[in-house]
Symmetry: D2
Subunit: 216 residues, 4 copies
Amino acid sequence: MSQTVLLAAFEPFNGEALNPSWEAIKTLQGYTAIPGLRIACQPLPCVFERALQVLEHALAALRPSVVIVVGQAGGRPDITLERVAINLDDAPMVDNAGQQPIDTPVIDGAPAAYFTTLPVKAIAQALHENGIPASLSYSAGSYVCNHVFYGLMHVLRHRPRVRAGFVHVPYTPAQAAYYPGAPSMATTQVADAMVITVKAALDDLQHLPLPTGASH
Amino acid sequence: MSQTVLLAAFEPFNGEALNPSWEAIKTLQGYTAIPGLRIACQPLPCVFERALQVLEHALAALRPSVVIVVGQAGGRPDITLERVAINLDDAPMVDNAGQQPIDTPVIDGAPAAYFTTLPVKAIAQALHENGIPASLSYSAGSYVCNHVFYGLMHVLRHRPRVRAGFVHVPYTPAQAAYYPGAPSMATTQVADAMVITVKAALDDLQHLPLPTGASH
Amino acid sequence: MSQTVLLAAFEPFNGEALNPSWEAIKTLQGYTAIPGLRIACQPLPCVFERALQVLEHALAALRPSVVIVVGQAGGRPDITLERVAINLDDAPMVDNAGQQPIDTPVIDGAPAAYFTTLPVKAIAQALHENGIPASLSYSAGSYVCNHVFYGLMHVLRHRPRVRAGFVHVPYTPAQAAYYPGAPSMATTQVADAMVITVKAALDDLQHLPLPTGASH
Amino acid sequence: MSQTVLLAAFEPFNGEALNPSWEAIKTLQGYTAIPGLRIACQPLPCVFERALQVLEHALAALRPSVVIVVGQAGGRPDITLERVAINLDDAPMVDNAGQQPIDTPVIDGAPAAYFTTLPVKAIAQALHENGIPASLSYSAGSYVCNHVFYGLMHVLRHRPRVRAGFVHVPYTPAQAAYYPGAPSMATTQVADAMVITVKAALDDLQHLPLPTGASH
């Protein structure tokens, strides 16, 4: 029986010409190398609320068993697997609709946070075994990425069998060429990383008890 | 009428000879420069559970109106005001009792996270106005610092009038001398920062709506 | 009339399984896409003196019009074009023959430094235009890389028509997977960067007067 | 018999309100704690050529046995002891007189570089023993700092008994408060560091053979 993985990624924001998350994800449209698996790729506007509406629409239409949202983390050198989404919108810059919410909840009255349901330690290990730099992250920020991550986990809170989470990716090399000192990752490698992430999420649904926490 | 502020800070861990948090806090014992205010200083063992027990004992004994726990964040260049504590123990190294919990909750069945009740943006602004580098942080890690921060907010969850939170501080210069490239902060400046933090927590109980969120 | 470009790069050192400089350069052996140009690729041992002997032998055999030595700069995020070689061996670790010279000259009685004769600003601009992160560097260190760079420029000091210099490259992704926080660059991109570097060195022998110096 | 140490440091530049080098050095005016030693403190304009003229005038007037120029290195976390000055002016921004030389020599026809004559490894060790973060640096950049350092070593090239060099210092905390993520150092600690540097330069004129070179 076939199952569906939904990969969503963002359009460019903050004046950038591209977003490395969508550059990588769009190359996986029509990906058929994993038998019995359909990968659906969904672009998201970098807009509070609307991004979440688009994602929820895709969730309803596709009924995926795994959902991974991917976003840009300019300045980070590696693939980062987010552990926790917080119920806080606190935008350091306007979104693509000109909104800049400050210190408001993503969803009023909802819990302070949700943890990812992806097996992030197993994924990190699979990425390392494939020669791809990756680590866990304990903060997805307080901008549109965290907003969508939190909203996703809230929507799925009563559907524990759907694995869901968020992955941040570095600048592309072409972006980093404009920011002295910024690290980058090739788009082909980000795409490879996402395939490995999907496989690890499907194969190893156990959360590996590796000592890779953060001292601060 | 007098009120009490409780400042708690950690003993050394991970083989260090000192902990910059306690080095600064211990200098504030008997601090009397703010009329009507008593500052109580409490050292904490760097041990899961026991640190929290010591803190809870001090809370019960002192009935403070503000509680700030301070910890070491080796590698950070500035005073960081933590916004959120998560219900996760995931230790990257053993604590001072040889324990290393991996992926277990701080408190079983409790919420995924608690937000600080300190006015962290007002505090950051006060620190800047006094020439002290400071910023907000969206992750206190998953080690003993986050454990104590989470436990503190859980204990106080039904006492909204008590302001509480967590502050991370850099290495001392003497520590940083052993870690090439590590930033540091003078202990006297950390102590000054904590006095300013206490004043801002008492004076300006409004949370300033400044656009200082994190994009990731 | 045909001309020859010599690209030399290092074998692994310091316990690494590979060296990103040779991984990239070896893919350019037999490169024929630039008419009238022959690219010769030479591996170098990571050994003081011996590396220089191997390079000098290749120089004598090939009579190249451009010579570029490439080395690993673990921790740097981009392609770095070295401006200056200094007459100092000061090894922070042993070389592959167990030697660790401390504060000795590369060549006794020779000048304190030599500048590269590559048009490094034109090369940096060409790399940026091709979407590859790159910058100038004002220090090639004091280990085998600087040793070979200095020795090369000394050998060529009376042959001003031969352009020569040194390029440092980041870790491969597979190396960076072992060093948390380390940036990396895909080997295919490093190879592309070297082709662009060679073209820029051949095409634009003028040194572009761009304001890309270093404040410190 | 009394001897004189000349400490020179820069005025603010690039729109800053202060320069951490002069903030520290000016506190040492009239320093008399080392018997037989006179410390003379000289402010320098952040202007190509003029800074060097002011320094040369002070050298002629004071006939010091040790000369140390101190400058700001915003972004560095520790005291950095410069090893080498290069014969290159390549300004990334205008100086305080509006000049921006690009790729011109400091002194036409002079050597490519000069090494410091301070015992920088002994100084670094003395700083560490006093709990002050410090390291060697292999590039003083290509702006006014390197210009003055190079010019100083050129002037003294025939006076080997005069020890001379350059020390870069971090932002003050008040400066770093404006640059998110920038490390800083207390001005009192920078002043302490300079006293230790002077003592080490006078006491231990041997260059300690420590393995603290740079791999790149």
